[in-house]
Symmetry: C2
Subunit: 339 residues, 2 copies
Amino acid sequence: MVKAKDDFINLGHGSGGKLSAELLGEVFLPAFKNTILNHLDDSAVFEHHDGKLAFTTDTYVIDPIFFKGGDIGRLAVCGTVNDLAMSGATPKYLSVAFLIESGFPIKDLERIVASMAEAAHEAGVKIVTGDTKVVEAGSADKIFINTAGVGFIDEGINISSSQAKVKDLVIVSGSIGDHGISIMSEREGLHFETDIASDCAPLGGLVKKMLAASKNIKVLRDPTRGGVATVLSEIAAKSNVGICLEEANIPIKDQVKGACELLGLDPLYVANEGKLLAIVPKSDAKAVLEAMRTTIEGRDAAIIGEVVETPKKKVFMRTPFGTARLIDLLVGEQLPRIC
Amino acid sequence: MVKAKDDFINLGHGSGGKLSAELLGEVFLPAFKNTILNHLDDSAVFEHHDGKLAFTTDTYVIDPIFFKGGDIGRLAVCGTVNDLAMSGATPKYLSVAFLIESGFPIKDLERIVASMAEAAHEAGVKIVTGDTKVVEAGSADKIFINTAGVGFIDEGINISSSQAKVKDLVIVSGSIGDHGISIMSEREGLHFETDIASDCAPLGGLVKKMLAASKNIKVLRDPTRGGVATVLSEIAAKSNVGICLEEANIPIKDQVKGACELLGLDPLYVANEGKLLAIVPKSDAKAVLEAMRTTIEGRDAAIIGEVVETPKKKVFMRTPFGTARLIDLLVGEQLPRIC
């Protein structure tokens, strides 16, 4: 049973943080449990005719639907492509399901659809099946898009959040927090302006180059809802290790840093939509990093931490001043409808 | 460009009827076109490692979320399982994405989730990946559920809406209109009562028995939104044939017939969630029908018509009085949020 204080769903249950994890652990997993679901990686992986497939889904509810660097359509393609890529799969096929409020302008739908087609082309995936539902005005907010995706996994690739080992290194593919801060700056009622655009991009090509550089990559995750802090906390918990970050090494744009200070946000919890975290053996880290830096998506990649023995299942960060602070799972929702 | 009168999305664009087809043909297909999508069958079919896979998606927005014979969760599992089965696939894996309004009772979510687990067990599928998004109160109506599904297709099976040939027979698996009338009778503001329950059920087992009786089944479709009329019209158009129905042979429960008369509805357009239409060569029809009648889902199966040369791309129905009437595509929405 979910705790009495949680008799009703609140925005935190969709945050990707602590309440999401509770809902998953206490409501969904006990009902649906099976050996494939129980891995809880970004994609489910199953076998077919001597090969392996990855399968994933996400619903996109971002507000506003058009923003600097993208729109809900581009996000819906990139987000699902990236979840497939994070399982080491080559993203292949997407389904698209539109849920539209009656009265939505068809020209906006056409703009979203064109953006999805462009993103699919960029990512090398085909949109092969779909659905459209329309509900009365007031029963949904403009448009929500679900995409599910299927990818093919090459032999010998084995990536999962439970595989981080002590002394492995943590790599981030570029500057963090761009997507979340871009959305915040566009959102009604928030009167600050930045030039920051969402980093929304498909990462299948980057992952392909990384896997060509090393077959020993242990973990790949895209730090979306809940940001870098939440994803690394999940990896630490599932791998039963500690993760130590070096604050000075984490790439953050000055404008993102400034906006976070203004808004009282910790950039470690801010969503990204075109970045990944990789955990790789120390011996392969240099080769992987160099391969990443040859790509547009990974040109600012950096080693930002390492896997440690203790404290188990915790993430902590060493500051430039020599102190260390514990990075906890977010309890509620930091930025609702960020993806 | 969609016609000027259609500058804004309306409920008809989600009906599965004429406006849905326009939106598909004028907005989605030109942008997303590829050889797999262009088939427009209930599932996309693609190859992997010398085998074939089926992939499909649907979002469920039914109102009310609990009804006689089922709930939104059971519907979300059965609907997607059935779309896979209609491609001749054995349904295997589902994704589930919840879109929930803040304030939704967790006990209702638990009830829905338990019902999904039960339906998945009944259908022999596993729920292997998922997503939960929560939006502010007023930005969605209670709960919407998307499921996508993957199924495996055995060698030698080749089913598609474009394969109906003159002299083939049309079989329906049981009485029509139960789901739609059940939902109507539950809906607020409609003050008539029936004992009719939704027919919501997984049809993978029925299809398996049918394919064991004949590998020559040409078309399988489940007549959901838009009902039997809409689905047969689509088959007639894609196969470039006519379809002639015999009204007297179409199984309809007396209560459904009565409710349709009361409400001015044509049962041919009313949604079903546990029925299928099959088009089979005359030579195999008896064997398929007998196999169907050994199952609970197909015990009332009947031959209801045949494929004819002309009028091409049209469905018409011979009445018991010897007259014939043309069955057209529904223009608007008959029953919004029926699935």
